[in-house]
């Protein structure tokens, strides 16, 4: 990981500033570090909006290449606004991807050497452990979590299907998720 003179890692804004201030393409170390940090976050945005690993990976590459391109060009005036800047590009690329337009090839040609392999998402928990932890939930918690997660069903929809109120579904879901997470991570015996 990149360190400053004081041995503490620079924050995202400081890295963005370094890229912006350097002659275009000369601070590859800062560009690579910024890429490494932002890649998993942009990928999650892609998963949320595009609901698939492949389009999320596409989004990640395009957004990060555009970010570095624009930082090099001095398009980000206030580095503290980096997250907002990246969010704007995420939205634009999602629209592009949904329209089927891709500018990926051109960007890859120009900036491909900055690319690093994207960091893998957190692996799923151990199957046997997860089975055991699901068994420990109450019937209602298990039902609500399985039906929520299977198809990413929001509380309003699930409430109608189960004859409960949406508020009730949220309470059961929240409690179940807390217990499941604690069990899987070993925070409870």
């Amino acid at each position: 990981m990149l360190k400053t003179e004081s041995e503490s890692p620079p924050d995202d804004a400081a890295l963005a500033l370094r890229v912006a201030r350097a002659a275009p393409g000369t601070d590859r170390e800062a560009e690579a570090e910024l890429y490494r940090r932002l890649a998993p976050r942009v990928r999650l945005y892609g998963l949320r909006h595009l609901r698939g690993e492949a389009p999320a990976a596409d989004l990640m590459q395009q957004v990060l290449l555009m970010t570095i391109e624009r930082l090099r060009a001095g398009a980000l005036r206030d580095p503290q606004q980096l997250a907002s800047f990246v969010l704007g590009m995420c939205r634009m690329v999602v629209l592009d991807l949904k329209r089927g337009h891709a500018r990926r090839e051109r960007l890859l040609e120009t900036y491909g050497d900055v690319l690093l392999p994207g960091e893998a998402l957190t692996p799923s928990p151990d199957r046997a452990r997860l089975m055991e932890c699901l068994e420990r939930l109450t019937e209602r918690e298990r039902t609500v979590l399985i039906m929520t997660f299977y198809d990413d069903v929001p509380a309003e929809t699930l409430a109608r299907e189960l004859g409960l109120s949406a508020a009730n579904v949220r309470v059961i879901r929240h409690r179940g998720l807390q217990r499941l997470r604690a069990c899987v991570t070993g925070e409870q015996s």
Binding site: S8, P9, D11, D12, R37, L38, P40, R41, V42, L44, Y45, L47, R48, L82, A83, S84, V86, L87, C90, L121, T122, P123, S124, P125, R127, L130, M131, L134, E135, T138, E139, R140, R142, T143, V144, L145, I146, M147, T148, F149, Y150, D151, D152, V153, P154, A155, E156, E161, L162, G163, L164, R170, R173, H174, L177, Q178, L180, R181, V184
Partner: protein
């Protein structure tokens, strides 16, 4: 990694974000935070990993659960190979599980009007209790309960008879809503 997080996003907010439940304004605020915060985005990644694990288990019949007809329809639409048994009120069914089945689910027809709490009791052929599942979710107007047993447990069963009893529970005590018999035969290899 971002060394600090001004205000960590709660697990409930992360889940609501993932499920698309937030207002447009809250979603934008959450996304900006996630793009600027390594710690919270890591927690979202963990949540998605947990969701993926549960989803994979459910698809493979690896978890016992009470569900509903809409859930079963989703499974079928997504290509999951489902074996379905419908047991009439106080009736019985001959059942098995084959290597081709991903999930077996059973619908127990039952009159659920006026029931406040429903318990499900699993018994062996002699009526000896094996498990009691308390306060199972149900919809009054649905006319029954849909449940998915764990497929690995079904595959391990010898030829046997099992019974399931549905009980309505309230302050006055409990009453039997319905009793169902399963005559299970292991799949015969070709």
């Amino acid at each position: 990694m971002t060394p600090w997080c001004k205000s960590s996003l709660e697990q409930g907010v992360l889940l609501a974000y993932w499920l698309g439940e937030l207002s447009e304004t809250d979603e934008a605020r959450t996304e900006e935070h996630l793009l600027g915060c390594a710690a919270c985005s890591e927690r979202l990644g963990e949540l998605i990993a947990l969701r993926n694990g549960v989803r994979t288990l459910a698809r493979a019949g690896g978890v016992r659960a009470i569900v509903n007809d809409a859930f079963v329809r989703r499974l079928v639409e997504q290509g999951v190979r489902v074996r379905e048994y419908r047991v009439p009120h106080n009736g019985s069914v001959n059942c098995t599980v084959t290597p081709e089945d991903d999930i077996v689910f059973t619908r127990l027809d039952a009159p659920l009007g006026g029931v406040a709490r429903l318990d499900m009791v699993e018994m062996d052929s002699q009526g000896k209790r094996r498990a009691r599942h308390e306060d199972v979710p149900f919809q009054t107007g649905s006319g029954g309960v849909v449940f998915i047993p764990r497929i690995d447990e079904l595959r391990a069963l010898p030829a046997t008879t099992m019974r399931v009893r549905l009980l309505a529970v309230d302050e006055a005590g409990e009453r039997v809503i319905g009793e169902y018999t399963f005559n299970h035969t292991p799949h015969a290899a070709d």
